[in-house]
């Protein structure tokens, strides 16, 4: 069983990368991977509640996110600094743990695989 970290660093509706990464994370959990997710940089905009992606024909990222615990993806983290910089009021469900930069470094170093880089 591999430790897999998905890093989401971009906002959710400029493209469909975030939903595609979330789908991969769900499949990772179905395959018994030890899956965690880290939202950082502009990726933390994905954590706003009350999104309506369907109005532009996209899947609604916040709805997918709330379904994650049913896929047993429950290690959800966000960069505390990225959230604070944006003065962001996050969704409260699912629960997301705030990490300092040092804690993020420790999280990354503990992985077998890190997925999600995008230019």
């Amino acid at each position: 069983m591999k430790k897999m970290l998905f890093i989401i660093s971009h906002p959710p509706y400029a493209n469909t990368h975030n939903t595609e990464l979330l789908e991969a994370a769900m499949v990772g959990a179905v395959f018994d991977g030890d899956v965690s997710l880290l939202f950082r940089g502009d990726g933390v905009w994905s954590l706003l509640p009350d999104q309506h992606g369907e109005k532009v024909g996209y899947k609604t990222f916040s709805k997918m996110l709330s379904a994650l615990p049913t896929y047993e993806v429950d290690q959800l983290f966000a960069c505390a600094g990225s959230v604070a910089d944006r003065n962001l009021s996050m969704a409260t469900d699912p629960a997301i743990e705030m990490l300092s930069l040092e804690q993020q470094a420790t999280l990354i170093a503990a992985q077998d695989v890190v997925i999600g880089a995008q230019g």
């Binding site: 660093s9 950082r40 940089g41 930069l101 993020q104 470094a105 990354i108 170093a109 992985q111 077998d112 695989v113 890190v114 880089a117 995008q118 230019g119």
Partner: protein
């Protein structure tokens, strides 16, 4: 120990904030523009990508590598983390 692949300058910043200080970095693609001779970090540069961009780096001051060395570094480290923004 992790190996970090850095593909551009914003990725370099994000990586530096979230890496352990002894982790090695490879600069490739537009990441080569972040090469800095005064850096004390363990940084390698994909020589081909610097050459492509006209970025001239003195081999006595920079760890310039080819794809074979790139592969060897990935084999010696886990995880291999890509950074781009």
């Amino acid at each position: 120990m992790s190996l970090h692949l850095v593909f551009n300058s914003a990725g370099f910043n994000a990586c530096q904030q979230r890496m352990l200080s002894a982790d090695p970095i490879i600069l490739l693609g537009d990441g080569v523009y972040s090469a800095d001779a005064s850096s004390e970090q363990n940084i390698y540069i994909l020589a081909l990508d610097a050459q492509v961009r006209g970025v001239i780096l003195d081999p006595s001051q920079f760890n310039l590598i080819d794809y074979d060395a790139f592969v060897a570094l990935t084999a010696a480290h886990l995880p291999v983390v890509s950074w781009a923004e």
